[in-house]
């Protein structure tokens, strides 16, 4: 006799299997990359080092070595060489600033602060270096505090070509029939004001493992010019300890169990409330590569206000597992990527779904065109693919067609700090969704621009 497994149990098994496969893959990646800084083996750095070892006073070779070692992420090698330069000439403000920056990138904020202060006290300091130090010194000092609050805020105007997310062909399925939308409901553009706030608080437990208590808050508010029923207000709050996993065996590796909750309002009415718990980890590999696997469960309560269950989401459980990667490809280029799987389990099969998502952003940072600006500007092309497959056809929409969506989002984000605290942020993105149901086939071009602030 063969035991029959319930669909819910099958999905659980699938999720657990995904988690195990993700974990094993992450561990395999970790194991395959040597913990030691492989960059120090770079032939060019070694050649320059041998030349420098033969004649340590050869300044041109020393600076070439510093440049290559820094580009390779071997900051300690660059520090050793630059500290030697200070033996030869102790008053060089630029060298002290560079040393402060190298220590800062290694997380040695007390040494970074020392060198920044020494550079500021150097009589030969030039105005640009002084501005850059005055911009970075407070960031460094904040990292030395036990209780640290940081924030990012962005406000501005968003314009969308399809602000009411209407289907491209103006047709929707309802009860199995394809019907035309009324002209008032077809694709319309709109603009809205938006505000975003991201706040982080870290409380250092001051133990020698480096454990901290982390609180994260995200808030987002929009005010539409035309579709006020689509005004959004949401917040999400999480709290948990970030604990060192094994400081001796895996330096820098951390694990963070957390609780999370939030609420979303649409058109002034509470639409979705959620609460749950999760666990995430962070595994730095070398000086420039970090893996972030995570798992989260949320109980979701959706108040659609609909008489019939025709909305995409409904109350249930969201189980999400993912693997994030961030890497510094070069001095100026970094990559962030994340792949995730979510099981949205609702009492109704046609509101239950499997969702796979892949995101990536490549960030190119560069010096701004004006020397007076002491923070990098950046350009980040990004792409996101979200594939959603529902368990069953919604009989109220189309009893014969199971909804399957593929949503592509591509765009570019530009961040231009103008002062230490304020800047301009712009995003241009294009969304395109293919679906087995015409209701959800849509495209939308968005432009978001406005001032941003950091502290």
């Amino acid at each position: 006799m063969t035991a029959v497994e319930s669909p819910a149990r099958r999905r659980w098994r699938r999720l657990v299997r995904s988690g195990i496969v993700g974990g094993v893959t992450a561990f395999g990646l970790l194991s395959s990359i040597p913990v030691a800084s492989a960059q120090a083996d770079a032939p060019e750095q070694n050649q320059l080092f041998q030349k420098m070892l033969r004649n340590p006073k050869d300044l041109e070779t020393t600076f070439a070595y510093v440049k290559v070692a820094t580009a390779n992420g071997d900051y300690e090698a660059a520090i050793g060489a630059l500290e030697r330069i200070l033996f030869y000439q102790p008053g060089l403000a630029r060298v002290k600033y560079e040393l402060g920056g190298l220590y800062m990138r290694l997380g040695s904020y007390e040494m970074a602060r020392r060198y920044f202060r020494e550079a500021l006290a150097s009589p030969d300091i030039d105005p640009i270096t002084k501005d850059r130090i005055e911009a970075s010194l407070p960031d460094t000092e904040k990292q030395l505090q036990q209780s640290r609050v940081s924030g990012y805020m962005n406000t501005g105007i968003r314009y969308q070509t399809n602000a009411n997310y209407a289907p491209t062909n103006g047709l929707v399925s309802l009860g199995g029939q394809e019907l035309a939308l009324l002209p008032s409901a077809t694709k319309k553009s709109d603009s809205n004001w938006y505000g975003i706030a991201g706040i982080s608080h870290d409380y250092d437990l001051n133990n020698q493992r480096g454990d901290t208590l982390e609180t994260r808050f995200v808030g987002y508010v929009t005010e539409q010019a035309r579709f006020s029923n689509l005004n959004v207000g949401l917040f999400d709050l999480s709290f948990g300890p970030r604990l060192a996993l094994a400081p001796d065996l895996l330096p820098g590796a951390t694990i963070k169990p957390y609780i999370v909750g939030g609420n979303t309002w649409l058109g002034g009415t509470s639409y979705l409330a959620s609460g749950g718990a999760g666990i995430s980890a962070s595994f730095p590999v070398g000086t420039r590569f970090t893996l972030v696997p995570d798992f989260e469960w949320r109980r979701v309560d959706v108040n659609t206000g609909d008489v019939l269950p025709i909305s995409t989401f409904n109350s249930g459980d969201w189980l999400t597992t993912g693997l994030g990667v961030s890497t510094q490809i070069g001095q100026q280029i970094s990559l962030q990527a994340r792949g995730s799987y979510r099981r949205g389990a609702s009492p109704l099969d046609f509101n239950s779904y499997d969702q796979w998502e892949g995101d990536a952003a490549l960030t190119y940072s560069f010096a701004p065109p004006f020397g007076s600006i002491s923070h990098n500007w950046s350009v980040s092309p990004f792409a996101r693919l979200i594939r959603t497959a529902f368990d069953a056809a919604n009989p109220f929409i189309d009893p014969t067609t199971v909804r399957r969506d593929n949503e592509w989002i591509t765009g570019i984000s530009v961040d231009m700090p103008l002062t230490k605290a304020f800047g301009i942020s712009t995003i241009i993105q294009y969304d395109h969704t293919d679906s087995t149901l015409s209701n959800y086939r849509q495209d939308n071009l968005s432009i978001m621009a406005g001032p941003s602030a950091r502290f």
Binding site: L59, G107, Y152
Partner: protein, 295 residues
Amino acid sequence: MDLRNHITLTRLLTVLLSVIAPMTRAVAQNSGKVAAVNQDATGTPPGESAHTLVVGSGVVYKENIKTSAQGSTQILFPDQSTLNVARNSSIVIDEYVYDPKTGTGTMLASLSKGALRFVGGQISHTSGVTVGTPVAQLGIRGGVATVVFPITPELAASDSNLAGCSGELVIGHVGTLTLKNKVSEVTIRPGFATCASGQNVPITAPFRISDAVLASIVSTMRSRPGQSGGATTPPAAPFIAANGVGKVILNNPAHPPGADPLGLTSIFSVGTSLAQSKSQSTQLKSVVPPPYGAH
């Protein structure tokens, strides 16, 4: 001694020499080199008399490096690590073995007086470096550390955390440090320091190092006015600028939600997906009614 014994002894000596000779060469290849020096600084190899250190001098196994009240030096090692030796210091490189092919090796140093800062290279990343003082042994893994012995009364007075400390001060800058003596063992994370007053005195709980203490120590590892670390032509500021030093713009190490491009676009996406869900269900109430009789 008969002929047979003589032959055996000769063979044995040949084998021993064939083993020892490459080892001696390996040690010599692996020794450090003086990369900067302010006088007076001397080196005393085992069984030899003291000689003045100059830039380019080799530092051999068991050599005692001493600096005067005006002297300081930087020693560069083949694994790309460096050792900055402060004024009024005395150190010995007890062991240094490095295999460049595997990037592994061992380094043992002793500080009997003064201060040093070790900036790690390949050895500290793969195996570990040990710095000993008369009161404790410091293990350095993957990092940068400052060691002072003994703690002077002036230094102790500069930070209340050092009150009562008279022996070794260890400051962690990068990586994992472990300080142990006969009765205790303490791990030190970056930005923290601890002191060991004796082999049989428990090591104090680590504390955040103050900038005043760091400033005091860093100043002892720096050239004084009129000193140039042995450089015949000290680098000038324009030369430094021309070589691209100090051009970097540093990014804020704090990462609040939304500060990164994926985080920011994710916030927009969450809001958009919920508004989209609501709008798409609302649209179903705004359709052209089907013709009468249609299915």
